[in-house]
Every structure is written in C-alpha cells, then in structure tokens.
C-alpha cells in the first residue's frame, strides 16, 4: 500500500485481532448501557471500555509498517527466555494441530463421553508430538484414560458422562 511518499505493509492479523477486541469491548459497553444507565452499573465498566477503545485507536497505526524503515531496522536481540511462538513451519503445524485436537476434545466431551474423548485426544496428541509406535500410542492413551476417568471420578462430586467405562 502506498500513502504519500512511502510504501506500507499492513499486518492484517494484528489489525484483525485488535479490531475484534475493540468490537467486543464496544459491544460490551452497549450491552451494559442497555441494561441500565445507573452509576451502580457503569461506574467502572464505562471508563475502562472507553479507555480500551482509545488504546485501540492508538495502536492501529502500529499495524502499518513502513517498508523502507522495516528493512533498515537492525535485527533486534532476541530474549531467549521470553515466551515466543515457534517460528519454524513444522513447529507451527504441530502446535496448530495440537490446539485443534484440544478444541475437538472440549466440544465433543459431552457427545462421545470422557473416556473415548480422552483416549482419542491422547493418541492424537502423542502422534502430533512425534510418537509413531502403535503399541506405545494405544498403551499410554489407555493408561491416561483409565487414570483420568477413574481418578477424577473419585475426586470430584460431579458426574462424568462416559460411553464405555
């Protein structure tokens, strides 16, 4: 994108994230105001929401990088201990598949039961982490399932929906 003399690249992911946050904040503010305009309701929520929206406007420009500046910038020293997202492609794929497996697990727990859900998830997660030997996959997943289901059943007063166990 060109604005005036300079070329800019847009960080669409970042822009999408903060716009999503800002939209959520804006909706929350409207929702709160629709409940009641009383001070007892809005005392903290309204100023904090407005502050968040102001921060959003302030951050928007950070999503646009000037290309020439970007290339001129020296590579910043990486803090080895700071939490970082892995940058290698294979690592990102692993992370994403693990996240997807977790998502499937939490949304399907009630449908397929804790036992089957945990078994499938453990096997999938092990495969994602690099385990390929079928005996290990099945054996360990079975162990986790049994310990998890029976252990937690003994611990918590709530019923756990299971299909087989």
């Amino acid at each position: 994108m060109r604005i005036g003399q300079h070329r800019y690249t847009i960080d669409y992911g970042h822009l999408a994230l903060i716009t999503l946050i800002a939209a959520a904040v804006f909706w929350y503010l409207l929702d709160a105001r629709s409940v009641s305009l009383s001070v007892n309701n809005l005392l903290l929520v309204q100023p904090v929401a407005l502050f968040a929206l102001a921060m959003y406007l302030f951050i928007i420009p950070q999503c646009f990088h000037r290309v020439d500046k970007e290339t001129a910038k020296s590579p910043k020293e990486q803090d080895p201990l700071a939490p970082t997202i892995p940058s290698e492609r294979s690592d990102i794929i692993r992370m994403a598949s693990l996240g997807a497996a977790l998502g499937l697990l939490v949304f399907l727990l009630d449908v397929i039961g804790f036992d089957i859900g945990i078994f499938l998830f453990t096997a999938a997660a092990m495969a994602v982490c690099g385990e390929r030997r079928p005996l290990h996959l099945i054996g360990f997943s079975l162990a986790v399932t049994l310990v998890g289901v029976y252990g937690f059943r003994a611990l918590i007063p709530f019923p756990m929906h299971t299909t087989i166990l």
């Binding site: 007892n40 009630d110 449908v111 007063p157 709530f158 019923p159 929906h161 299909t163």
Partner: protein, 331 residues
Amino acid sequence: MTNFTRRDTFRIAAGGLAVTGGLVAMPSILQAANYPSRPINVIVPFATGGYNDRLSRAFAPYLEKELGQPLVIVNKPGAGTQLGNSYALNQPADGYSIMCTSAAPYIPLTVLLQGAPYKVEDFAMLNLPSRDYTLAATSAGSEIKTFAEVIEKLKKDPSSLSIGVQPASADYANMVLAMQASEIDPTKLRIVTYDGGGPARNATAGAQVDVGFVGGEGFLPLKTKVRPLAIFAAEKVDWYPDAPLLAASGVKSDFVEGSQRGWAVTTKLKNEQPEIYKFLAGAVERASKNPQAIEALQKQELATTWFGPEASDKAYRDNAAKMAKYVDLLK
C-alpha cells in the same frame, strides 16, 4: 437461551445414547423398587460454609442412616442459586439428586428478576426446617442503640447513615418497605450493596456500614460483635430472643419472611416417581425427628423442625406470591 442446553441438543443429535435413554425408558416401578441402590447427590446451590452447606453436611449422617446410601454434597454456587437450580432440573428424575437450598426467596427471585428458565412450581419441597427473618443490626460498638433512632436520623437526613444490604433480596424488600412506612425516600439513602449475606454481615460487624439488613440466623456466631436493632418477624424469634421486633420500634410496615431453607426435589420427580418421593419425604421426616440429630444440629444452631411437605410447600409458595407482589421494589 432456554433451558434446552447444548448437552440436550447433543443427546438428541446422538440419537439418544443408550445410557440416558435406557434409564428414562425403564419402568418406574422397577426403579422405585431398587431405590436407592447407589449414593445420592445433594445439590447445594451455594458455596461451602453457608447455612445450606452446613445444614446438608451436619444432617447427612442421620439422613444416610434412613436412606441406607451415602450422600455426596455437590456445591453448585452462582447467580443467586440459578445455576444450581438449573443443574438440579437437568438431572434425571430418578431420585439420585436432591436439593438442600434456601428455596424461598431465592427460587422466586431468580424467576422474577433474572428471568430464570424455570417456574416456581418446578420445585417440590420435602421439608423447610429453617425460617429466617431479616435483622437490622449495627456493630457492637456503635452509637446507635435502637431502630427508632435509625429512623429518626434518616428522616432528618436520608444520607446520614450508610446501609449495607444484598440487592434483590427479601432483606432489601423489607428495608424499602420499612423506609416507605416511615416516609423516607429510599432513593436518597446511602445504600451499599453486597453480593451475599456473609459479606454484608462482616461489613456490619466490622462497622464498615452503619446499619446492615441481613438474614438474622447467620449473625448467631457473631452475636457478640453486633447489636440487633429490629427483627422483621411477627412474633418473638426463639433462636434470637434479644432481637426486638420491628413493631416495637413503632414502625408499622408489612414485611416478607426471610429465607426458608431445607430439603427439596424437582416436581418432575414428585409426579413421575411418587414412590421415591414418598420414600425421601419419610426418610427426611424420620431423620428430622431423630433425637440425636436434633441435639447435634441444635449445637451448631441449625434447624431440624419437621413441617412436612404440604406445610413447607405452602410456605414456599406464599413467599413466592409475596415476592411477586413486591417485585417492583427490588428492580
């Protein structure tokens, strides 16, 4: 969203899994004959340590003896009992889930004020032994000695005293009724809101607020830290004899009764499994009349009085009707 939960959707989508489907389809007589064959859950829609939690834990050993099965206390606090109530309604009506709760005024209030997705009639009482009343109190070291003094001060200047109370509660309704009867504009009061009886009592005992309007029973362990000013009851309350009645202060106002706590089940169970319902009521009755239970619970200032299902249900529904009458005060 209605009470048609995601879980239900999945169940239907899954074609009625054999597990739940089988249970529902089983002839009710067969179930009643074997009942109870496994531990029974007691759903307490409050956090640990509250009156209902204590009542359920203290009463459990005696009720277990009558039921022949252990009881498991399940605390499901949140949203003024709405979460626990919905949870109880979502359990299969097989008698393995019973409730120990402040049925009134919490169930009617969640329906009236929060639009809870159930009706007052969805719950059937077994016995409500504990009858609480709103108590207006101040800290033991306070300069205020009587309720008449409170009214006098507030008449002169409605913001002269801070008032601690739980919003959308019987206590709140009583406070507003007393103020209206004394021609004090409730909107001009300095009201401090607390999200439970416990915090409101602590604030009263710690003199953080000048006057607190809270259920009186919870004050018993803190008796020496507070001074009772007026109790919103028609006649002297035997568990708090030093508390002067509201009428004694010269304020003539209607009031609603405070919490009615005890044992309940879903109406679905009562209708579909009358045998189990009768069995449960009988067990609660025998345990309530057990002298050992009475003695043990009395020491912990917990009630065991046996009113029975009919009287308890009537008290519960009367309270609900009165709440509906005064619901505008709470909004």
